[in-house]
Amino acid sequence: MEFGEESSPALAFEKNAFELTVEDVYDISYVIGRDLLKISSTGEEVSDLQFRIVRVLEMFETLVNKYNLSLEEMKMERDNLRSELDRIMKDGSSSGQSIQTGGPNQLVVDLTDPNRPRFTMQELKEVLQERNQLKAQLMVAQEELQLYKSGILPQAEPALVEVDLTPPAAIENILLQYENSQGSNHTVIRGSPVRMP
């Protein structure tokens, strides 16, 4: 049987067009070439057809080649992008859970982090000032209490109570007074001046 002999190159005719390789194109050329040889023994009018077929096969070869090369390039590009993505994902998860840099002088804050930065410097400043004021008032109250306890202050006459609330702006005034020793812009809680009977 002639069929078994040529089964291998002839299989190329049955392949999906998108799966063709240049080798398949050569197989196809081989089969067509052999068929042409059989016909050509009958007369010479096939020689024109033979050249045209060769030309079509050459074009076919170029197209298949080009298609396969492009396909290969795209696969490589896809693989590169995939590994790049993996690297970025890995970097992102390992470089701290909540804070990443989002560019020069920028922070990326994880909104799910309960310890994320939330307050401004001004807010902190105000809270600290209030804390320090309250602390100063407590000290004054303690001092006064001590005086009452030790019997130095008579119950009837309230003590002269001083509260130094000095936030930074007020400190400046104190310094001025330190030099001029007069006047005051400070918050003063005062009772009547302390006097011994």
Binding site: T166, I171, L175, E179, H186, V188, V194
Partner: protein, 201 residues
């Protein structure tokens, strides 16, 4: 005689790198205690201690600053009110010593011109971990014309001496004012000057 709580109020400021022991130095002076657990100061804090110098009761209001750079804007706003500034470094930490010039620059930029300055080399009990020679500290203090002590808040070395010396230096510069009327305001401002009530001798 009236009961007066103090004659003068001096405002002091502690500055220096994070972890050199500013809070511990202050805690030793104000409460005569020491705590080994390190809690970073948030922004600014203060303590009060009244001392007696040359027969005068002097109330020291001592501001303790955070050494961390992130609190810089808060802490520098307190420089201007200070009459005395203690610059603290850690003798076991070379970086904290190198940064002295940076802190001195901060003083120049933000503090009052005639502020009394002092340099402290803290943790001098840790001789085995020392990396900054005492002579180095003395030298840089001499170059800038300021006093210098090596201190230990833990072993209570030179702490009181440093504060009292600084207070004394400020006292020397303080103009002597006669007490006037009973209405003298003893707010922080008035308290800086002598305050006595009318019936005082």
């Amino acid at each position: 005689m009236a009961k007066k709580t103090y004659d003068l109020l001096f405002k002091l400021l502690l500055i220096g790198d994070s972890g050199v022991g500013k809070t511990c130095v202050l805690f030793r002076f104000s409460d005569d205690a020491f705590n080994t657990t390190f809690i970073s100061t948030i922004g600014i804090d203060f303590k009060i201690k009244t001392v007696e110098l040359q027969g005068k009761k002097i109330k020291l209001q001592i501001w303790d600053t955070a050494g961390q750079e992130r609190f810089h804007t808060i802490t520098t706003s307190y420089y201007r009110g200070a009459m005395g500034i203690m610059l603290v470094y850690d003798i076991t930490n070379a970086k904290s010593f190198e940064n002295i010039s940076k802190w001195l620059r901060n003083i120049d930029e933000h503090a009052n011109e005639d502020v009394e300055r002092m340099l402290l080399g803290n943790k001098c009990d840790m001789e085995d971990k020392r990396v900054v020679l005492k002579t180095k500290g003395e030298q840089i203090a001499r170059e800038h014309g300021i006093r210098f002590f090596e201190t230990s808040a833990k072993a209570n070395i030179n702490i009181e001496k440093a504060f009292l010396t600084l207070a004394e230096d400020i006292l020397k510069k303080t103009p002597v004012k006669e007490p006037n009327s009973e209405n003298v305001d003893i707010s922080s401002g008035g308290g800086v000057t002598s305050w006595k009530s009318k019936c005082c001798s």
